[in-house]
């Protein structure tokens, strides 16, 4: 009975993200060129907010000076606490709710937005200690936050977002535009 169904391990297996998640994108968030966000939605409806590979922070060898989850005097995402199975008490985020601000060493500041409606479950405190995680593994260990959409809204998450294919079209069009308008 042992090992009768071993996989053909020569072909690379799908990664954790490919196995369990669907990628959704939001391009040029808040009208800011290239500030693309990526939402990884797990099959259990949970969403992981990440930077898309195309986000300016991840370009041109930038380095991060500061990540700040305190988005106003009265509100810090670090104070978020959830309790119990039903995740009581988590801050409720709307599409344009800022989640954190990231300042690069070149003093440019970027705001990361929720992109979806849902309850904030967790922010990634590891990137506060080790900001290189965000640069090296933006879609896994360098995630920004975990957000749980309402059960009845979980299927609607994608409605305001782009599929991977649609996003790739946007990105290639963007590249074409840059080439056609040399400065």
């Amino acid at each position: 009975m042992d090992c009768t169904e071993e996989k053909d391990i020569e072909t690379p297996a799908p990664s954790v993200i490919e196995r369990y998640f669907t990628r959704w994108y939001k391009a040029d968030v808040k009208g800011q060129a290239c500030e693309d966000h990526c939402i990884l939605q797990h099959s259990n409806r949970l969403c992981v907010l990440t930077l898309a590979e195309t986000h300016p922070i991840l370009q041109d060898g930038r380095t991060i000076k500061n990540i700040n989850y305190k988005i106003s005097n009265g509100c810090s995402r670090l104070n978020n606490k959830v309790a119990g199975k039903s995740k009581r008490g988590g801050q409720f985020l709307t599409e344009f709710a800022p989640v954190c601000r990231i300042t690069c060493t070149d003093e440019t500041e970027y705001t990361i937005y929720s992109c979806i409606r849902g309850r904030l479950l967790e922010v990634n405190e590891d990137i506060l200690v080790n900001s290189s995680l965000l640069l090296k593994k933006p879609s896994t260990d360098g995630y920004i936050a975990l957000i749980l959409p309402k059960f009845e809204e979980s299927k609607l998450v994608k409605e305001n977002l782009l599929s991977r294919e649609d996003f790739e079209v946007v990105v290639s069009k963007r590249a074409a535009d840059v080439q056609s308008q040399p400065s």
Binding site: E6, I9, A13, V16, V82, K87, L121, K137, T140, Y143
Partner: protein, 561 residues
């Protein structure tokens, strides 16, 4: 002879003319002699009629009658009954044979045993008495027929037939009776009707001394049912219950006045079709003052136009628990049915593959599956397997020999090659706890097939073999975070063993504390399990296959082959 005294006469008279059946009269007179309920109701009625009509001639009887039918503790009454017992020992033998052996040692019952002698003598005397005119048997105003037609041999036969068609295996039965709520209202009304007479004669009597309809019903009919079922014992505690439910069309109209006078007692409940449940009606009757009751309801209660109807007989056998260990050899089989939005994700499940042959053998109406933890759909469970238990609901058959259990196990094992079962056995309900107990403390062993991003050599991974008692901080995995609370849980990996396979794969054998999420330890779960294998090997790692090798719970006991 009826254990009634001169002072009971006005009560009996009043009850009979109000339209009470003979058994309800016995109840109101607090007669605890079971055999009097058991005898044909016409005989009882005749005795009662004789009793009230021979107001004077009954006087001499009083010396032989029981001084006090109330369950009095007084030594006097005991002495009196014991003296009589001696008179008629010959009858006793046959009667005790009919007695349920397991009745609780209630005082009432004891008294009944003591009184048997007097009852027997009553029978013989009665035979000499001149025949009284046959009385018209109307529907009783209090029990609405429950203690009349439903205590007949005919009805007992119907009940027995219903039980027989279900084809249960049982040694003893317990009867359960459900009565329409207005019987309480009618009883209360009748009590108010005779309260004055009862109180005047015997100061100690209160409403609670009246024999409840349920009890009188059981005394009247359980012997007949037992006989029809071939002499099975009717007891007060049994794993097999025969349920009788009586309903009446006028329940709502009889109780309606209570809803307006004691509105707070009647709140609509989710799964009841009427607000007039027995509990609610009893509560309302306790609250309502007698004067108010009498304004809204006739006393004695009015004559009913129909008697109760008997609902279908419900048989219920208590659950039987079956335990064992299972192996799961498939990576596309869930432990329990996996249904999303009403659609089945997998054809079958471990639970169903085990339950079906079991439910067939036990002829059960359903089952509840539980196990010592669970594995994912794509994880195999090898080795000695995972302990599980199955509650068989309402089993029609419940006794199996070791050989028969082995045969059921064979049936399960030949029915599918996706699972196998061993150590299958019947266990007690209490034993079920062993399985869940220590779910977190016990150890589990796994084998994982690990993929490494960078090429490795044998020597790159051997250091893992030396890591012992590694404590992990596991945040609730994303995979289960939608249904589990967010927390950081500390889990221990007791030991690890590596087996190199090729430059990008190796087998990792782990011995861990139960409750460790292995997949997350290997791929890191977005860095949420720390430390994880990616950190230990300083490269991305992923898990391709996982097998549970052992679940170290020593229950249920192994069964030798």
């Amino acid at each position: 002879m009826l254990p009634l005294k001169e002072k009971d006469k006005p009560v009996v008279q009043k009850l009979l003319s109000a339209g009470c059946c003979a058994r309800c009269v016995l109840r109101f007179c607090c007669v605890l002699v079971q055999s009097l309920y058991r005898q044909p109701i016409q005989d009882t009625l005749k005795q009662l009629q004789d009793f009230v009509s021979n107001l004077d001639s009954s006087k001499p009887n009083e010396s032989t009658a029981v001084p006090e039918p109330h369950p009095a503790e007084g030594d006097e009454s005991h002495d009196a009954t014991e003296a009589k017992q001696g008179e008629d020992d010959s009858e006793q033998g046959t009667r005790t044979a009919m007695e349920p052996p397991d009745d609780p040692p209630k005082k009432r019952m004891k008294l009944d045993e003591d009184l048997k002698g007097s009852d027997a003598s009553a029978g013989s005397k009665d035979a000499e008495a001149p025949p009284a005119p046959a009385p018209a048997l109307g529907i009783c105003v209090v029990c609405l027929g429950v203690l009349q037609e439903y205590c007949s041999r005919d009805h007992a036969r119907k009940v027995a037939e219903a039980v027989k068609t279900e084809d249960y295996h049982f040694d003893t039965i317990v009867l359960s009776v459900s009565l329409p709520a207005q019987l309480c209202v009618r009883e209360h009304s009748c009590w108010l009707h005779v309260k004055k007479e009862m109180r005047e004669k015997i100061m100690t009597r209160v409403k609670d001394d009246i024999v409840p309809v349920k009890e009188a019903f059981k005394w009247s009919v359980q012997g007949l049912i037992a006989m029809e079922l071939g002499g099975v014992a009717v007891v007060t505690r049994s794993s097999f219950e025969v349920g009788m439910e009586f309903k009446h069309t006028a329940t709502d109209s009889d109780c309606h006045f209570l809803a307006t006078t004691c509105a707070d007692c009647f709140r609509p409940t989710k799964n009841k079709d009427s607000v007039f449940t027995r509990v609610a009606v009893v509560k309302a009757l306790e609250k309502i003052p007698d004067s108010k009751f009498l304004i809204h309801y006739p006393s004695p209660p009015g004559r009913p136009t129909s008697s109760c109807t008997s609902q279908a007989i419900q048989c219920l056998h208590t659950s039987i628990y079956v335990a064992g260990r299972y192996n799961k050899y498939s990576r596309s089989l869930s432990q329990t049915p996996w249904i999303i939005d009403g659609r089945r994700m997998m054809e079958s499940s471990v639970e169903e593959l085990i339950a079906e042959p079991l439910a067939n053998s036990f002829r059960a109406k359903g089952f509840n599956f539980s196990s010592s933890g669970r594995e994912d759909v794509d994880v195999r469970t090898l080795g000695k397997g995972r302990p599980f238990a199955m509650e068989m609901l309402n089993p029609h058959r419940c006794r199996f020999t070791k050989m028969e259990m082995k045969q059921i196990q064979e049936t399960i094992n030949t029915s599918s090659d996706k699972i196998a079962v061993r150590d299958l056995q019947i266990v007690t309900r209490e034993c079920m706890g062993h399985m869940k107990e220590g779910e977190e403390e016990k150890t589990k062993s796994y084998t994982a097939l690990v993929w490494t991003q960078k090429a490795i050599e044998k020597d790159d991974i051997v250091f893992l073999d030396d890591i012992k008692e590694l404590t992990l901080d596991q945040k609730t995995p994303l995979r289960v975070l939608h249904r589990r609370a967010l927390a950081v849980r500390q889990r221990v990996i007791h030991s690890m063993n590596t087996r190199f396979r090729d430059p990008h794969h190796f087998y990792l054998r782990l011995k861990t504390q139960a409750g460790t999420y292995i997949k997350e330890f290997v791929h890191g779960d977005f860095g949420r399990t720390k430390p994880n294998l990616c950190q230990l090997l300083k490269m991305d790692t992923d898990i391709l296959e996982l097998d549970v090798e052992s679940v170290d719970v020593d229950w249920p006991p192994a069964i030798s082959e």
